[in-house]
């Protein structure tokens, strides 16, 4: 019986340009922390090995410090780690891996195969058939070698590969790094640990994607965890448990507002947003001024509470009413201009400018009336 942790797509070094510097820094930092958490989890659960199915680093030519940090983060778990190269960090003639070797930060329990082959772990009676990517762009199935790869008799065969299973992923179009959907059967693998798809996904009983342990995009695809895999051996199916380890939860809310109640409901929901949430709020529709004010306040409070909040109101039109104008003191031609802008919000060519202009008008008028 083998007890493994299967994880992948750590994407160390990824930068988040869509967030402010501070938030981005925290999100980038979280990736290292998650690795440490995985190591802690592995130690806590006393697993036999941790398999990392590629894309450990987000790019080649990562700084030495980042390399060291990553390998240091593995420290909590002293058992065998097997890390393979993905497409972002392929094992080229010169790569992060060769650099890591040069830096001497790869511990003795950390296996980093640079060629497809089997890693024999006799003490565990486990053979890990690893298919690291060795080219920048791979167009053929790297796991094909598994079929012919012999291992010591009696060993459990666990495949470790990085690529897209042909025809099984939600939106794959002529993807690079193809992997045959029936590789596990063809290569007589007890389990095939895959990486590249960032969500935790079951391809079949023996073939799983672990997904990225720390979410890194707004797609809702069950990321943020690792897989706890028990292989009973003897041809039995693996028992797979998804274990959340990620720090932050990323969510994308698309809201279309028409009535004041819609805004209220949204504001209410926003109240529930917590400090570990990374939220993208996309608003469209139209709002009266008062509702807009209330919503803005709710959003501001949520932005303060959450890790990061990206707000997109480009498609949201303001609809001030007569009393709003009166309140603003926008009489005479100012009122006319406001009405004009309100109408322009529906013109797709000028909508963006008109919305912004209307908001500015409201803001300026408010400042005027508030000022002594």
């Amino acid at each position: 019986m083998i007890h493994l942790i299967h994880t992948a797509d750590w994407q160390i070094g990824r930068q988040y340009g869509q967030f402010d510097t501070d938030d981005a820094a925290m999100l980038a930092e979280a990736r290292y922390e998650t690795v440490a958490r995985i190591a802690a989890l592995a130690a806590e659960r006393r697993v036999d090995a941790v398999l990392v199915a590629g894309d450990v680093f987000d790019t080649q030519a990562v700084s030495d410090r980042s390399i060291r940090r990553l390998f240091d983060a593995l420290a909590a778990y002293g058992g065998p780690w097997v890390l393979i190269a993905g497409n972002h960090d392929a094992a080229l003639a010169d790569s992060v891996w060769s650099r890591a070797h040069q830096l001497g930060c790869i511990g003795p329990n950390v296996h980093v195969p640079l060629r497809p082959g089997a890693i024999d772990l006799p003490e565990l009676n486990l053979a890990v058939l690893a298919a690291p990517l060795t080219q920048r762009h791979t167009y053929d199935d790297t796991t094909a070698v598994f079929d012919a790869l012999a291992t010591a008799p009696g060993r459990l065969r666990v495949g470790l590969a990085h690529g897209s299973v042909s025809g099984r992923l939600p939106d794959t179009v002529d993807s690079a790094n193809p992997i045959a959907a029936d590789r596990a059967v063809r290569a007589q693998l007890d389990y095939l640990a895959l990486g590249d798809w960032h969500g935790s996904l079951r391809v079949d009983a023996r073939t799983w994607y672990a997904g990225t342990p720390e979410p890194d995009r707004f797609r809702a695809n069950a990321s943020g965890g690792v897989l706890d895999v028990r292989l009973p051996g003897g041809g039995a199916e693996p028992v797979v448990e998804a274990v959340p380890v990620g720090r932050y939860q990323w969510a994308h809310w698309t809201e279309s507002l028409a009535l004041a109640s819609d805004a209220e409901a949204l504001a209410h929901r926003l109240q529930g947003a917590g400090p570990d949430e990374v939220l993208r709020l996309e608003l469209s529709g139209q709002l009266a001024l008062g509702a807009w004010d209330t919503l803005q306040e709710a959003i501001a409070r949520a932005a303060a509470r959450t890790r990061a909040l990206l707000l997109d109101t480009a498609a949201l039109s303001l609809m001030p009413e007569a009393q709003d104008f009166a309140a603003l003191g926008a009489s005479g031609y100012v009122g006319e201009v406001a009405a004009q802008l309100q109408a322009l919000q529906d013109d797709p060519a000028q909508a963006a400018a008109a919305r912004q202009a209307l908001r500015l008008l409201v803001q300026f008028q408010r400042e005027r009336t508030e000022a002594p």
Partner: protein, 872 residues
């Protein structure tokens, strides 16, 4: 607003109270001459309303020189159905009182003033004088003297009231609101966009620049990463190739083939050596053959030579006889030539002698001549010498001391003088005696006729009578006599010294001496000519000549008198020719002799040679040798042929191997092997280098940097886009606000524009006012040309100023404000035509407003339909 009564006291020139009442609703013309007080009245109205009663700055309102004056004004007026009475006193005991509706309301002091300010639409100064900016509506409508053309300033100070009136009339947005927003938007826009070019500025520009920089940085890093990737790929390729080469070792095959070729070449080399050997043998055979050939030939040549030699010897011998004959002939001719030469010589000698003789004769003749001449010369010279001597003697003889002569002359003169004196002083005694009678004067017998001078006391004896003593009376006669005596003695002495008897003699001697001397000089000169070096020299020359002559004579004598047929030149010429001939002949002889000798020698030699050769040739054993040699030659030839054949065969065989090609192959393979090995080496070196480079690059973390740079670029692009959106929104807002605002202003200005048009049309039909944003008239448009206000003439400006005020007054009245127009001597610069037009305007305006027109030209305003009042 209508003024009814104005009362002044102690106001400037009005020390006593003065009242102007019964003012009518419309136009009031108050005329008066200069200094009548028109402006004082106007000033009083101004002061009453605009100046604070408490102010001390109005001392000029007090009458001149009056102490403790209390300028007071009282004005009764109506407005909006209320009657007002204003009393104000300045300076001492200043007071202010305003009664409304006959006392229903009463205001005092500042409250009164404030009420007035609010009613009429002006401000009270905080302290001091009322200044133009406080004027408000009255400041605009009450035109002071000479201020009519100033429109912009007073209108500006009344702007608030004007705007308010317009707003009230049009009901437009209190532009304060719209203006605020417009200005705010403009300011916000200006912060983002450059006013002229519309390009981003300030924070927007910074955002753009920062974004551009970040993108640039990202691009640079991307390029670096790309380069790095390319290097990694290159390393991979190198490694692949290196490993492949290491495995396949393509150079081995190459080297093997090269070795094979080399081996083959060695074989061929051996064959070649063999061929070389054969060729050498062949060469040797050739040499031997050639040698033998040569020897046989030489034998043949020897035989031929021998024969030739014989022939030569015979020929040479044959030559001898003619040579001898030639020699004899030459010798003969030489003898002839010699004989002729001797002859010639003799002739020449004879000619020479003849010439010599002739020469001698000539010389002798010449010499004779010379001798003769010489002799003559000598004789003459002798003569001359004698002459000279004689002359010398004569000169000597006749020499006379010049000085003495001079002294003598003097003396003579003195004597003469003295004598004259004596005679002058002397007594003259003339006597005529009878014959036979005689006298004795100092012993001197005087007879006959005569004269005698008595210079001294003298006795005259008259025989038979006695003696007479005569004593001349001259005073100094004695002195003279003494002197004369002295002189006489001196003279005698001198004469004696000089050796002459008299002066005349002396003179004669002197002259003779002189002459003699001159003659002597001349003679000497002649002598010198004759004999430059002296007679002796001449004599010597003569002697020489003589001697010479003697020599020549002897010489001549020795010369024989043989005749000479030819003269010297001819003889010499002939001699030369004969000499040449003789020479020639001699040479010919010599040549002939030499020829003969050589011929002889040659013949002998040849003979000897032939003899020797013959001997040798015929010697025993030689013939045998010759035979042998001939046989050997044949043998050698045959051998050589066989060798040549063998050689050719071997060469052909060698050719067939194509050794050059094999040589090329060997080279080719060796070179290729070398190249491949080098390539491998190079690859290895490149790999090491590249690895080093990549290590360095990896250490820099380009990939990570790139991701960061891209994230930064993304952020900055977002920021820039935010600015862009904001700028666009501001543009839109500004544009819309601007449009609306312009339209609103247009609507606002409409009433004002209409009124102004109404009035300006009276003066300039068809012209149009242009108003600026501040509702102020800015320009006049006539006939398509805009003239700015300042560009118009003074008079026109003044007229327009009045018209504008009329328009403002209409407007203000419509809005319910009090409008009183005061024109203090305005329109003085209007020409007749314009004034008439202005009158129309005023008349029209007076139908709506009360107008107080102060003028000094009352007569000019008589056609206004109102009476002309005088200043009280």
């Amino acid at each position: 607003m209508k003024l009814r009564r104005i009362a002044l006291q102690e106001f400037r020139k009005f020390r006593d109270p003065v009242v102007l009442d019964e003012l009518s609703d419309g136009l009031n013309v108050i005329a008066g001459p200069n200094e009548a007080g028109k402006s004082t009245l106007a000033a009083a109205i101004r002061a009453a309303f605009l100046e604070r009663y408490k102010t001390t700055k109005v001392a000029d309102l007090a009458p001149w020189g009056m102490q403790g004056a209390r300028p007071s004004v009282e004005i009764e007026f109506e407005h909006a159905g209320h009657g007002y009475l204003l009393r104000k006193s300045f300076l001492s005991r200043a007071r202010c009182e305003l009664l409304v509706d006959g006392g229903a309301e009463r205001h005092e002091g500042e409250a009164a003033e404030q009420a007035l300010a609010t009613l009429l639409g002006f401000e009270l100064p905080v302290k001091g004088h009322s200044r133009p900016e406080h004027g408000g509506i009255p400041g605009l409508l009450w035109i002071q003297q000479g201020e009519g053309q100033n429109l912009v300033e007073p209108a500006g100070h009344a702007q608030g009231h004007l705007r308010e009136a317009l707003t009230r009339l049009t009901g437009e947005l209190t532009s304060a609101e719209g203006d605020y927003l417009y200005e705010r938007v403009e300011a916000e826009r200006a912060a983002l966009r450059d006013a002229r070019s519309g390009r981003p500025k300030g924070a927007y520009k910074e955002a753009e620049d920062a974004c551009a920089r970040a993108e640039q940085a990202a691009a640079t890093l991307a390029a670096a990463k790309q380069a790095l990737d390319a290097d990694v790929d290159r390393l991979a390729a190198l490694r692949r190739d290196h490993d492949k080469a290491q495995q396949e070792q393509p150079w081995l095959d190459m080297e093997q083939r090269a070795a094979q070729a080399r081996a083959r070449l060695v074989e061929i080399g051996r064959e070649r050596d063999a061929l070389a050997g054969l060729q050498r043998e062949l060469l040797q055979a050739d040499d031997t053959l050639a040698l033998l050939h040569e020897q046989v030939e030489r034998d043949q040549r020897d035989a031929a030579a021998l024969q030739a030699l014989q022939a030569q010897a015979d020929a040479a011998a044959a030559e001898l006889a003619p040579a001898r004959a030639a020699l004899e002939r030459a010798q003969q001719s030489q003898q002839h030539a010699a004989a002729r030469l001797a002859q010639g010589n003799a002739q020449v000698a004879a000619a020479q002698q003849a010439a010599q003789r002739q020469d001698c004769d000539e010389q002798i003749a010449r010499l004779d001549q010379d001798l003769q001449r010489g002799q003559a010369a000598i004789a003459q010279a002798g003569q001359l010498a004698d002459q000279v001597q004689a002359l010398q003697r004569a000169a000597l003889e006749s020499s006379i001391d010049g000085k003495g002569l001079g002294a003598l002359r003097e003396l003579e003169q003195r004597v003469t003088q003295l004598q004259v004196r004596q005679r002058a002083g002397a007594t003259r005694l003339q006597h005529r005696l009878a014959p036979g009678q005689g006298l004795q004067l100092d012993g001197t017998e005087l007879t006959g006729e005569g004269e005698a001078l008595v210079t001294d006391a003298a006795e005259l004896r008259i025989p038979g009578m006695g003696v007479l003593r005569i004593e001349p009376g001259g005073s100094d006669l004695p002195a003279v006599r003494v002197a004369l005596q002295e002189a006489g003695t001196e003279r005698a002495a001198l004469l004696g010294r000089l050796g002459v008897a008299t002066l005349a003699e002396a003179e004669a001697r002197a002259a003779a001496h002189e002459q003699a001397r001159r003659d002597l000089d001349m003679a000497r000169q002649h002598l010198r000519i004759q004999a430059p070096e002296g007679i002796e020299a001449l004599r010597a020359a003569q002697a020489q000549g003589q001697a010479r002559r003697g020599q020549l004579q002897t010489l001549r004598a020795s010369l024989a008198d043989t005749p000479a047929p030819l003269d010297l030149a001819q003889a010499q010429q002939q001699l030369r020719t004969t000499a040449a001939e003789a020479e020639h002949a001699a040479q010919a002889v010599a040549a002939a002799r030499t020829a003969l000798d050589t011929q002889q020698a040659r013949a002998q030699l040849l003979q000897a040679q032939w003899a020797a050769r013959q001997g040798e040739f015929a010697a025993a054993g030689r013939a045998e040798q010759r035979e042998q040699r001939g046989a050997r030659l044949v043998e050698a030839r045959a051998r050589r042929e066989t060798l040549a054949q063998r050689c050719q065969a071997a060469q052909a065989a060698l050719q067939a191997h194509q050794p050059e090609l094999i040589e090329q192959d060997a080279q080719r393979f060796e070179q290729s092997a070398r190249l491949v090995r080098d390539e491998q080496q190079r690859r290895h070196a490149d790999m090491l280098q590249l690895q080093g480079k990549l290590e360095q690059a990896q250490a820099q973390g380009v990939g990570e940097q790139l991701l960061q740079a891209q994230a930064d670029a993304q952020r900055l692009a977002r920021r820039r886009d935010e600015f862009a959106t904001r700028a666009q929104a501001l543009d839109l807002l500004w544009q819309l606000l601007g449009e609306r605002r312009a339209a609103a202003t247009q609507r606002l200005l409409e009433p004002l524009a209409r009124r102004l048009q109404h009035y300006v049309g009276l003066l300039f039909p068809g012209a149009q006012w242009r108003l600026d944003d501040a509702l102020m008239p800015a320009a006049l448009a006539r006939g398509g040309v805009d003239d700015a206000l300042q560009a118009l003439s003074f008079g026109t400006r003044e007229q327009l100023g009045v018209l504008a005020r009329l328009a403002y007054a209409d407007l203000l009245q419509q809005a319910g404000r009090p409008t009183l127009l005061v024109l203090d001597d305005t329109l003085v610069h209007a020409d007749l035509g314009r004034r008439e037009l202005m009158k129309r305007a005023l008349y029209d305006a007076a139908s709506r407003h009360q107008v107080l027109l102060f003028t000094c030209h009352g007569e000019a305003w008589q056609d206004m339909g109102v009476g002309i009042r005088g200043v009280p």
